[in-house]
């Protein structure tokens, strides 16, 4: 409970005693590059395979002859947009980017780099954490779009190569009864998860106490807490926006 309180105080500190716009802009760009390089490969790999596997699994389960083939790609589309691209990827994002944010800040804390900033009168929360959160809000939705496309593409490639579904059928299924709110919904979720992962991980890292061992513990806790927060937020958003 006390921790939730200090989390909100921490968020409040983001905007106190701000650095100049130019400095912040530079820091944000640096973080964006870091996040992108950190996660793009894993995102492409995982989402392509999940798309492919979903296609095969769906085809395997739909053996009734009266169900048309395009239902397969329709299912892949819905799965991808609703859960896979925003939510499953958020869990991977927490594991990859969140843990590295916590580790990075934790190391800076125990090696007194954060103190060094504060002695110079810099608000370390603003200087170190705000760029991470802003960069995350910018990069994660992009990564979700990439992951979604890769997943659909993965399904297409496997579906066509194994002869499960014809190219035209796959495309037809993707467009069949398409409701563009699902994309909006996926992006809303992406923003929410990006904020949760980056702020929670930074919070855990920023208040690390002790030594190298505790930095490791902070990283792990950052991932666990982020994942729990993602799942709760996922449920709440579904209730709120879809019900």
């Amino acid at each position: 409970m006390k921790e939730i309180g200090s989390y909100f105080i921490f968020l409040g500190n983001l905007f106190i005693n701000r650095e100049s716009f130019r400095t912040q802009y530079r820091l944000i760009v640096d973080e964006c590059v870091l996040i992108g390089l950190d996660s793009i490969f894993l995102f492409v790999l995982v989402s392509t395979f999940i798309g492919a596997v979903t296609t095969v699994q769906t085809a395997y389960n739909l053996i009734a002859p009266y169900i048309p083939n395009y239902v397969i790609s329709q299912v892949v589309r819905e799965m991808t947009l609703l859960e896979l691209a925003p939510t499953i990827m958020a869990i991977i994002y927490a594991g990859k980017v969140g843990s590295s944010m916590a580790g990075n800040l934790g190391t800076m804390r125990i090696t007194e780099q954060i103190d060094a900033l504060e002695v110079m009168g810099i608000n370390a929360v603003n200087y170190l954490v705000l760029p991470k959160i802003v960069a995350s809000l910018f990069m994660y939705p992009l990564l979700v779009i990439v992951a979604g496309s890769c997943s659909l593409l993965g399904g297409y490639i496997v579906g066509v190569l194994t002869g499960i579904i014809a190219p035209t059928e796959y495309i037809y299924g993707l467009r069949y009864l398409f409701n563009d709110f699902t994309v909006t919904f996926a992006l809303i979720k992406a923003f929410a998860f990006a904020f949760l992962v980056s702020s929670i991980s930074s919070f855990k890292g920023f208040y690390t106490k002790g030594g190298a061992l505790e930095v490791g513990i902070s990283s792990t806790k950052a991932v666990t807490t982020s994942v729990i927060a993602i799942l709760i937020a996922d449920y709440l958003l579904a209730q709120l926006l879809l019900a």
């Binding site: 190391t107 800076m108 090696t111 007194e112 780099q113 103190d115 060094a116 002695v119 110079m120 009168g121």
Partner: protein, 250 residues
């Protein structure tokens, strides 16, 4: 000159600092000594404002730093240089960028002037050719020296060093002590050095404060330290074999 008045600090129910007062003078190194874990670093952090004392006040040349408004704090912060126990170099930046950092943040100097100033202080600490190195490529002593360079780059009026020579060999330690003393005299800074090294005490300790379990038990100059009459200080001083041998001989 820095003056501290009745500083106390607890973490949870453990009282770390107990009612410490004192004056640190300008133009000579002021030493805070004491065994490991007695609260020296916490005291230093209280003085520079990284830790807020529970009670007590810190004055920087009669400016109230503890309860002053934001303008006073900002003003004082610009005049502080600090060397941390482990160097605290930013590990994503090169040596040059590390040293330049306070100038980037605190001044609006043009680029060329900054570069010149950086080279000047790096030469001063004996690291003229390390500009492009990353902190991970440096030895412990080099890190400390880069830390000192960063602390002095903006011509601070107040210089703080937390164990500038822990983990260094005796020769390098002496060089660093000498360097701190020279800088203090040359720029007339108010310098506070935290240490538990008897070599430093004998070398640069004109003004010493001895802390034992969070209390100030003694203050004075190094020439008087061997006959202070304070038992805890004797234990601390004569734990050093050389000092002890000297005592046996006289």
């Amino acid at each position: 000159m820095i003056e501290i008045q009745r500083i106390s600090k607890s973490f949870g129910d453990r009282q770390i600092l107990k009612d410490i007062s004192g004056v640190f003078e300008k133009g000579k190194p002021n030493l805070i000594i004491g065994a490991s874990g007695t609260g020296k670093s916490v005291l230093l952090k209280c003085i520079v404002g990284l830790v807020k004392p529970d009670t007590g006040t810190v004055f920087y040349d009669d400016r109230n730093f503890t309860d002053g408004d934001r303008k006073v704090k900002k003003e004082v912060r610009r005049e502080i240089g600090m060397l941390f126990q482990g160097g605290a170099l930013f590990d994503s930046k090169t040596v040059e960028q590390n040293v330049c950092f306070p100038l980037d943040i605190l001044t609006s100097m043009p680029k060329e002037e900054k570069a010149e100033r950086v080279n000047q202080v790096l030469t001063r600490v004996g690291l003229a050719n390390a500009n492009k190195k990353m902190p991970s490529e440096l030895s412990g002593g080099m890190r400390k020296r880069v830390g000192i360079a960063r602390a002095i780059v903006n011509n601070p009026k107040y210089l703080f060093c937390d164990e500038p020579n822990s983990g260094l060999d005796p020769q390098t330690s002496i060089l660093i002590d000498e360097l701190i003393k020279e800088l203090t005299v040359d720029y007339d800074t108010t310098t506070i050095v935290v240490t538990h090294d008897m070599n430093s005490v004998m070398g640069i300790g004109d003004n010493i404060m001895f802390i034992f379990q969070g209390k100030k038990l003694w203050e004075g100059a190094n020439k008087d330290i061997t006959h202070s009459g304070v038992k805890e200080l004797d234990d601390f001083v004569f734990a050093n074999k050389v000092m002890n041998a000297m005592r046996q001989n006289t």
